[in-house]
């Protein structure tokens, strides 16, 4: 984060806790009194760290590093007491939290360590205080507020850095997942292309028919590879839907014509008369429906029953696609709609993710129920169109 922004955040926190110039003055006045105690406080601080394995393990540079860190801590306390809380000061505080993420020091140790320093500083102040009790009380209060502010800004930095690192590593993990899925889908057509080229270059007596066959095969597989890229990019950008009143039964029938289930699959479509129209983008919903139908058929390699039912359900239209296929294992059920998750031998694993994404963009929802060995039912729920609107 930029220094100015961090400073602004710190000043916002200052006003939140009611920090004033008077507080800064009290701290500055106490600084010379506390100075003689600093070496002892620092010694105590690092002795304590040595007693905790998790805190100790982040110090990898041995005694030399501890000596260096003692210097840094003394400097930190002096700055704390100097009474000047400008942009540079806040930036250095921010950097402490950032650095802790880098070396893997959990924030709880910073909290605990600051508590220990706080106790030490307050005790030192009580020992050397020469003014009245009210003055001491006010100074201790200022000191506490100041330490709380430091802790807040360090923790803020810690969290921001931690979150950004987590996001980065998640992005990398996703990238790995994409790479795996894409690799598989691209390398298969590439493999065909490569072997056909090998045949064309090396076959001893290829007939003209064989040559033509291999050239057509290359062409077809280049197209397959291209489709992989297209489906990835179309998943990445599903356009904003144009919501219209659509008759779901007509939609189902049209889609069944394009995605005709194979032999051995009995199809039933049942939409009651008077089923309201749905308010959705028909072209998009058809893509989602097509994916569900294809999945249902894939789940029934030995044949079975495909049942598509429409029903009205308070203000919504539900369309369920049920199969009597292999079903989904419970451990996969939660992930089944994740992009690039697939239990099939072929395919990127975008079908259901695409269906869900489309349905959600159409202000609907997609849910699934499944019993391994019995079959699965996917249900699209869409808003019902107002009655007076005519179906298109």
């Amino acid at each position: 984060m930029e220094a100015e922004l961090i400073a602004a955040r710190y000043h916002e926190l200052q006003s939140y806790v009611g920090w004033t110039a008077a507080d800064a003055e009290r701290i500055a006045a106490a600084a010379p009194l506390l100075e003689p105690f600093l070496p002892l406080l620092v010694e105590d601080f690092y002795a304590e760290i040595q007693r905790h394995a998790d805190a100790r393990k982040v110090i990898t540079g041995g005694q030399a590093q501890i000596e260096r860190l003692k210097g840094t801590l003394s400097q930190w306390i002096r700055e704390l007491l100097a009474g000047k809380y400008d942009v540079a000061y806040v930036s250095r505080r921010w950097r402490v939290g950032w650095r802790h993420v880098e070396i893997g020091l959990d924030q709880v140790f910073t909290n605990a360590a600051l508590s220990r320093l706080r106790t030490g500083l307050v005790r030192a102040l009580q020992e050397c205080w020469q003014g009245d009790a009210a003055g001491l009380q006010a100074t201790v209060r200022s000191l506490n507020t100041l330490l709380d502010l430091d802790l807040a800004i360090i923790e803020d930095a810690y969290q921001a850095e931690y979150a950004s690192r987590l996001q980065r590593s998640e992005r990398l993990a996703t990238l790995g997942q994409v790479a795996g899925g894409v690799a598989h889908e691209l390398r298969n057509p590439l493999n065909v292309v490569q072997t056909s080229v090998y045949f064309l270059l090396n076959a001893r007596n290829p007939t003209p028919e064989k040559i033509g066959e291999h050239l057509r095969r290359i062409e077809r597989n280049v197209e397959l590879a291209d489709n992989v890229i297209s489906s990835l990019s179309s998943f990445a950008k599903i356009p904003v839907p144009t919501l219209r009143s659509i008759a779901v039964e007509a939609l189902v029938r049209a889609e069944l014509e394009i995605n005709a289930p194979g032999e051995g699959i009995a199809v039933t479509v049942d939409c009651p008369a008077g089923l309201p129209c749905a308010l959705a983008d028909g072209d998009q919903i058809r893509i989602a429906l097509g994916n569900l139908i294809r999945n249902a058929c894939d789940a029934m390699p030995q044949g079975g029953r495909l049942e598509i039912l429409g029903r009205a359900s308070d203000g919504a239209v539900e369309l369920s696609v049920a199969d009597t296929g292999i079903g989904i294992e419970p451990q996969n059920l939660a992930r089944i709609m994740d992009p690039l998750f697939s239990t099939k031998a072929r395919g990127l694993g975008l079908g259901l993710a695409m269906a869900r994404s489309i349905v959600e963009k159409n202000q609907g929802s997609l849910r699934v129920a499944s019993q391994p060995g019995r079959g699965s039912t996917f249900t699209i729920r869409l808003t019902a169109a107002p009655k007076e609107q005519a179906a298109t």
Binding site: H184, L190, Q194, T195, Y198, F199, N205, P301, A345
Partner: protein, 254 residues
């Protein structure tokens, strides 16, 4: 009795295009190639006849390539199997090799390399082990594979008969005592069906079957190895006999 072609290769891949391509290329080079698009039909083909080499796709609907291989190893241990995969993690490769897969090859396949592998596999001398002790067979399988032999297994007389009729072996290791007969019966089968094969009698009964062993030796086995095996000696003997056959020499080739 028709001896199957020794240069027979099985390709199992759900991608029909790649099956056709491999078939075209390998056929052009003089191999006999059969293809299957799923594990079960691949297994059907394997049950009908032996294949020297199987090229198996890892990711297929239904039965994946590795599961298919486990079944192949049970039924046709002599099939040298190459697993072809578009995206193998080191873990899958390691698991496949531990199961007995010979090589794991990445897609797109580097064809020259694949052809070299096929050639190399076909050059490996084929050895038949006839022994009802399955654990011993598995150990010998690992051992001989490691030393560059193709290893066929038969656990009883009937299986031995079938195996001897369908392939040509360089060396046959015969347990003296097996279900459905004894070593002498198997020795006779070898003489009938695989007369060029050299034989090694393997037995754990050094003393009690002295007489039987003596007779078998008289009847013309090439060597006798006693259990537990002196492994380096066993390997040496098999290698010597496999080579002797290859050179067309008679008797000891040392």
């Amino acid at each position: 009795m028709t001896r199957q072609d020794a240069k027979r290769i099985l390709v199992v891949d759900d991608d029909r295009d790649i099956c056709r391509n491999l078939q075209d290329i390998l056929t052009d080079l003089g191999y006999r190639v059969d293809t299957a698009h799923d594990g079960l039909s691949g297994l059907e083909l394997l049950r009908q006849r032996p294949y020297a080499v199987a090229l198996l796709d890892l990711r297929m609907p239904g039965m994946d390539g590795l599961t298919l291989y486990r079944q192949i190893k049970q039924e046709r241990a002599e099939t040298v199997s190459v697993l072809v995969t578009a995206y193998a993690t080191p873990d899958t490769a390691e698991e496949a090799l531990a199961e007995g897969i010979w090589k794991v090859v990445a897609k797109p396949v580097e064809f020259r390399k694949l052809l070299e592998l096929v050639g190399e596999a076909l050059d490996q001398p084929l050895v038949l082990i006839v022994d009802d002790d399955q654990d011993l067979c598995r150990s010998l399988w690992d051992l001989f594979r490691d030393h560059g032999f193709r290893v066929c297994l038969a656990h009883d007389c009937r299986a031995a008969q079938e195996r001897l009729e369908e392939s040509t072996y360089r060396v046959v290791l015969i347990d003296l005592r097996i279900p459905g007969g004894d070593g002498r019966a198997v020795l006779e089968m070898v003489r009938q069906a695989n007369p060029q094969a050299r034989t090694i009698l393997i037995t754990g009964h050094r003393d009690e079957h002295d007489e039987l062993i003596r007779r078998v030796v008289t009847e013309g086995t090439d060597a006798v190895c006693y259990k537990p095996f002196d492994v380096p000696e066993l390997i040496k003997t098999v290698r010597r006999l496999a080579r002797a056959r290859q050179n067309g020499a008679e008797g000891s080739a040392e």
